[in-house]
Subunit: 387 residues, 2 copies
């Protein structure tokens, strides 16, 4: 099981004042999911030997990482299936309120969930499969919405240079709620040449941490974001920052599509830079910087500006920084760990792809912890138990 969409229990930070709303309070109970996940992980690991008769083997270090990697000889094969989550509920409500479809953005979000995870292992995404499970045939009868989904999916494939192989469009009345759709994406890629593999053995003290900008909430923390709308008299149409972003509503800001990071990782390879490790900053917020299985201290000296919608959520939820950075991306959607002397170039390559980037910190010897010094935050190993 890749755990990025189902954080383990008990890891969310402390809440703020009496009116604050934590991740668990927003409706997801990970205590109930975990025993199944552990059983599934054990059963899955026990199947690795099936590759041997074919002459192949799994890359065991990829278990627990964001994509599963198999050594097929001339290169590694990487694959993943990822769910969007509940962001469509915001799109549906915004469609009701604004009369337009937001599913072109939702399509990008869905593909980003799969592609941004796949690239963390060093893979080039090659092809994707669509999984669009609707609550009934009538979902597909809304032409504007359906065409937006197709157009957004195609555009995201074009942006990432992946082939759209096909997919499934089942109508699941009785399983998926009427009027809703369960969106997911499968992605398969290659680590080619094999030295691009970045499962963590290259990471070490002295490496730099480069953070890439997010566009907003991306596709994690939506349960919280949806719960918070109840506190807003104008709901999703509330302006989140009238002074600096007049007219930008909460709903529209939430629906900023997730940044696709594969153009950056591919451009890095072209530039001769092989990341030592990567982390997709999703469901655990910045605690994902602790994802590497080793024992290092991660010291952050530069904190990217907080995306307005995340600042708005933080304020509305009454969260302190400790809690917000532990669950939301707070402006940084992807982390690249590279040799220190390649850090500035890494950031420059990202910016050339239109994605802001910061050389934000460094890897050090020391106990497993993340220090966000400008904010006085420390997360320890006990704050992220993914495996």
């Amino acid at each position: 099981m890749q755990p990025q969409n189902t954080p383990v229990a008990g890891t969310t930070g402390t809440t703020g004042g009496s009116g604050s709303l934590s991740y668990e309070q927003a409706g997801v109970n990970y205590d109930l999911i975990d025993p199944l996940k552990i059983a599934a992980q054990r059963a899955a690991a026990a199947t690795a030997g099936h590759l041997a008769p074919h002459g192949f083997s799994e890359v065991a270090a990829s278990r627990g990482e964001s994509a599963y990697v198999v050594d097929v000889g001339p290169f590694y094969l990487a694959s993943i299936v990822e769910c969007l989550g509940t962001k469509t509920l915001v799109a549906d409500e915004m469609a009701r309120l604004t009369g337009k479809s937001w599913y072109d953005r939702i399509a990008q979000d869905t593909l980003a969930m799969a592609i941004n995870d796949l690239i963390t292992v060093g893979a080039t995404p090659l092809l994707v499969q669509a999984y669009w499970a609707a609550g009934g045939s009538d979902w597909f009868g809304d032409t504007q919405r359906a065409q937006a989904l197709v157009a957004g999916w195609k555009a995201a494939c074009d942006r990432c240079g992946v082939a759209w192989g096909g997919g499934e469009t089942p109508a699941l009345a009785g399983i998926v709620e009427a009027g809703r759709i369960d969106l997911a994406a499968g992605c398969t890629g290659l680590v080619n040449p094999k030295e691009r593999l970045s499962l963590g053995d290259k990471l070490g003290p002295g490496d730099a941490i480069v953070l890439l900008a997010s566009s907003g909430i991306h596709a994690n923390g939506l349960s919280l974001a949806r719960k918070l709308v109840e506190r807003l008299p104008q709901g999703y149409l509330t302006e989140i920052d009238p002074a600096n972003h007049p007219g930008l509503t909460y709903g529209e800001a939430l629906l900023a599509p997730t940044v696709l990071y594969s153009p950056v990782t591919e451009a890095l390879w072209q530039a001769g830079i092989t990341p030592h490790y990567c982390a997709n900053i999703t469901g655990h917020g910045w605690r994902k910087l602790l994802r590497h299985p080793g024992r290092f201290t991660y010291r952050i000296g530069t904190v990217p500006p907080v995306t307005p919608v995340l600042k708005f959520i933080q304020t509305l939820a009454g969260q302190d920084n400790n809690e917000s950075y532990s669950t939301l991306n707070m402006g940084a959607g992807f982390a690249i760990f590279v040799a220190a002397d390649q850090a500035e170039q890494t950031a420059a390559v990202a910016r050339a792809q239109g994605i802001d980037a910061w050389v934000a910190g460094r890897v050090e010897e020391g106990p497993k912890r993340l220090l966000i010094e400008p904010l006085g935050i420390e997360y320890g190993a006990e704050d992220l138990q993914l495996r």
Copy 2:
């Protein structure tokens, strides 16, 4: 889009008497899905060129087939994501009636949907990904059910010799209905060596048609099967064939897990037999025998025995053979087209894997049609429009 779970509109056969129930009447409206599928297929096809900068290319003939195939040099890569459909609704109701979980069988069904499609192109399935999207965290709190799902998934992987790479277990309250789960599987494999590719160019007049036994309804036609239960005073606990199968209830018979056919295709390769084409007999019933894009006549002289639950459904729905064979597998879950002089050995290889098999007919020159001679049925090209 792979169309096997979403048959196109207007292709279902005529209905029988006034009490008969057709596929569309059971609640799936393909007219609404089709325009989206066509748009998606066109958009997807337009992304094929993205493989070229990586030095790869798609196998164009795989578009519209059951799995997407990419030429990555030393071998072909094949991938697919497949949905189970609504069979879980039967399992849920049977759990309520019997107090036991049926999700070990459901797990096999889900994997079979992906694996049985992947192998049609000649691929060896290598790894699978789980997609288990529940209506809420509490779904995973039913330990018996969750463990059955894990155990069944593991057992199916073991049976097919595939590695279980990981997966997703999201809780999607508000999208998936409370107490329900949306199950799907991703499967990636290799066509290796490349001459195993079976996208249809090898098929020709004189080839034999070998049919492999199904175990029951498999995972297609469940909407109809669930609708029919309303006609039964004892519902899912109705005995379907007291004389020959005392105690076998409608619900249990429906939940016979889908046969996994990859052990047969792998054993055929070991035996030196390369199928000229394969068809997974799913949503369109025997019309799937017309799946090959070419223009041939398929003449069936031997019809396998009808699985009792399918006979029961046919009678209950008041369907004639023409309709039943056009939507249900009627006892044959998979078709292998091979050189005539390898037909008997193909059937023997299948039987050695514990799956009954029949050399049922042959491919001939002539207009595109399927003749099921013992039943006086003829389906034409207009009865199956998959692409």
